[in-house]
Symmetry: C2
Subunit: 342 residues, 2 copies
């Protein structure tokens, strides 16, 4: 049996109101009584029920966090960052993976909506917009991470993926490559598209025509990278370099290159993305770009918490056009896989 405010009141010989006042330190109360209550509460090991508080206050002090896949190093980092900010502000985290499936995302969103999360941090599934539409309808404040929609006004924290793709590809161009393949991510994701746009821009800048045969798309995973690389490398006139959207995909490329008997970087230059912790310890240390994933999570959570505490809901924001769009710059990390030091 859980002990309640009534038990404390009885033990301290006061009313429940007095207990509530003492514990929340608000309202008038004689110091003497306050002390008596606090002592009784301490002695009984009383813990106020968050559920009851939530029912009366309408605030659960809980944030929902929906990511694509927490086993991916980038999302794992983001989660850490979110936690840092949330715990500091007294918020708990209801966590879920979408696996980039809209159905799974919607199921999870329904679940946390029923649980009255005060706000939401999410990497949207961008195959369609049912998720963000639902959030809008519910009026729950939310902040997008890593991905955004140009025409959905909301807060988001992302890295400049166009710049990232550009830096990666330009580096390969400058190293002398002209047949540069691209292992892209799912085309419906803004991150995947933007990195591709950066790739395209770098080529354009040097007047290298875009060769459709050199552009592939697959999931942001090792397996996805391997499949995409397979399609690129089996071509008679195969690329001499590949820009893979993510380090995980780049690992897939490494694996595939090995099976083709190609050495990296001698036979195939390679640049990845995200700068995962293990990038420098791989078979071939990976040239990649870095951005502060943990900070993205932390900043997103801080922003969301500020929104919640300001009591601004999405509608208010829309009216005021006061959304924060935070974009952090990536920077190129040159290691061995691009072969530029040869």
């Amino acid at each position: 049996m859980r002990i309640t405010i009534h038990d404390v009141a009885r033990a301290a010989g006061v009313s429940v109101t007095a207990v509530s006042r003492a514990l929340n330190n608000k309202g008038e109360l004689s110091p003497e009584k306050r002390a008596r209550v606090l002592a009784a509460a301490e002695q009984l090991g009383y813990v106020p029920s968050g559920v009851a508080r939530a029912l009366v206050s309408g605030q659960t002090k809980t944030l929902g966090v929906l990511v694509t896949d927490n086993t991916s190093p980038v999302y794992a980092e983001i989660l850490r960052g979110i936690e840092e900010a949330a715990l500091g502000a007294g918020f708990s985290l209801l966590f879920g993976n979408s696996a980039d499936s809209q159905e799974q995302a919607l199921r999870w969103l329904d679940l946390v909506h029923a649980k009255h999360v005060d706000g939401l941090l999410l990497t949207p599934v961008q195959t369609d917009r049912r998720d963000v539409e639902r959030l809008g309808a519910w009026g729950i404040p939310f902040v997008m991470l890593l991905r955004y929609f140009v025409d959905v006004p909301c807060d988001y924290v992302v890295t400049d993926n166009v710049l990232a793709g550009y830096l990666a590809t330009r580096h390969l161009v400058e190293t002398g490559h002209r047949r540069i393949g691209h292992v892209g991510g799912p085309p419906w994701t803004s991150s995947g598209r933007d990195r591709f746009l950066g790739y395209q821009r770098a080529l354009l800048e040097r007047s290298i025509p875009l060769d459709a045969d050199l552009v592939t798309c697959d999931s942001f995973t090792i397996g996805g990278g391997a499949r995409a690389a397979e399609a690129l490398l089996r071509q008679p006139n195969r690329p001499t370099a590949i820009f893979a959207s993510t380090d995980l995909q780049a690992v897939g490329v490494l694996k595939c290159a090995r099976s083709f008997g190609l050495r990296v970087p001698e036979d195939l230059a390679l640049v990845g993305g995200d700068d995962i912790e293990l990038a420098e310890f791989l078979e071939v240390p990976l040239t990649t770009f870095h951005y502060p994933a943990r900070d993205i999570g932390r900043i997103g959570a801080e922003l969301l918490i500020a929104r919640i505490q300001d009591g601004m809901n999405q509608v208010d924001l829309e009216r005021n056009d006061r959304f924060k769009r935070i974009v952090v710059d990536p920077k190129l990390i040159v290691k061995k896989s691009c072969g530029c030091s040869d």
Copy 2:
């Protein structure tokens, strides 16, 4: 303004009880009314308040999950496994990292206790037992993952770490090594200790005396592995092989070996642990041991949910001595770092 059961009742022209009955499909209710209620609820987009339900039922349909560090691949996998089982049963996950700090763990436990989690999955911080003692006092059902206490009766799901350490070390012995160093984990963790015990057993079996200079301990991270390896490799009579508790530590060993100009496996054989996804793609593909981390999470969650639904609390369990202690066997994965194929 959130829409409530009263709104639905009014819209359908029935009492709130009727609505409750229709939605939960329990109690008597004419099919005709039921249909009318369901239609109204659907039409209004009504979502029952989990908070209110929790207050009355005493069940939040929420599980707490406390891991050491979600950025570590093993915990990330476990989290996935937990989610699989939890979502299927309609449970949400309140997530947190302890960073192996008892203070942080206790802070988080207080938080989720106030939120009335129905149960808890955790990797205990084993520096002391305040965490499990608190859980016992609260009477919240919990299941330990990856770590356990011999003298704390409770459910747990772990891998046989003694066997794991034994398999890893025996393999090195069989390859002809006699000076085998050990990069261990934090000595207060059961997983770290057990892997060391396995190491010790393998040596004993071959009558190789344990050399205290060859045993080091540090955190289960790349940095920890590098520091520990540094201590081992700078010795005049350095080991010819190292068994590192985890793959992450093994990566640290690789890094350190490189800085000493030692080639792996030619100058230094190496075996890691956990079989992280990237193990085979490292500078030197890692010989390691594997166990189903995701399954451990899933099984733990299933077990916990069964406990919750059976309504058995810790006290009942203690009386009945019916705790489940699930131990899954690890198996050795031979790659290149051990040098056995030479």
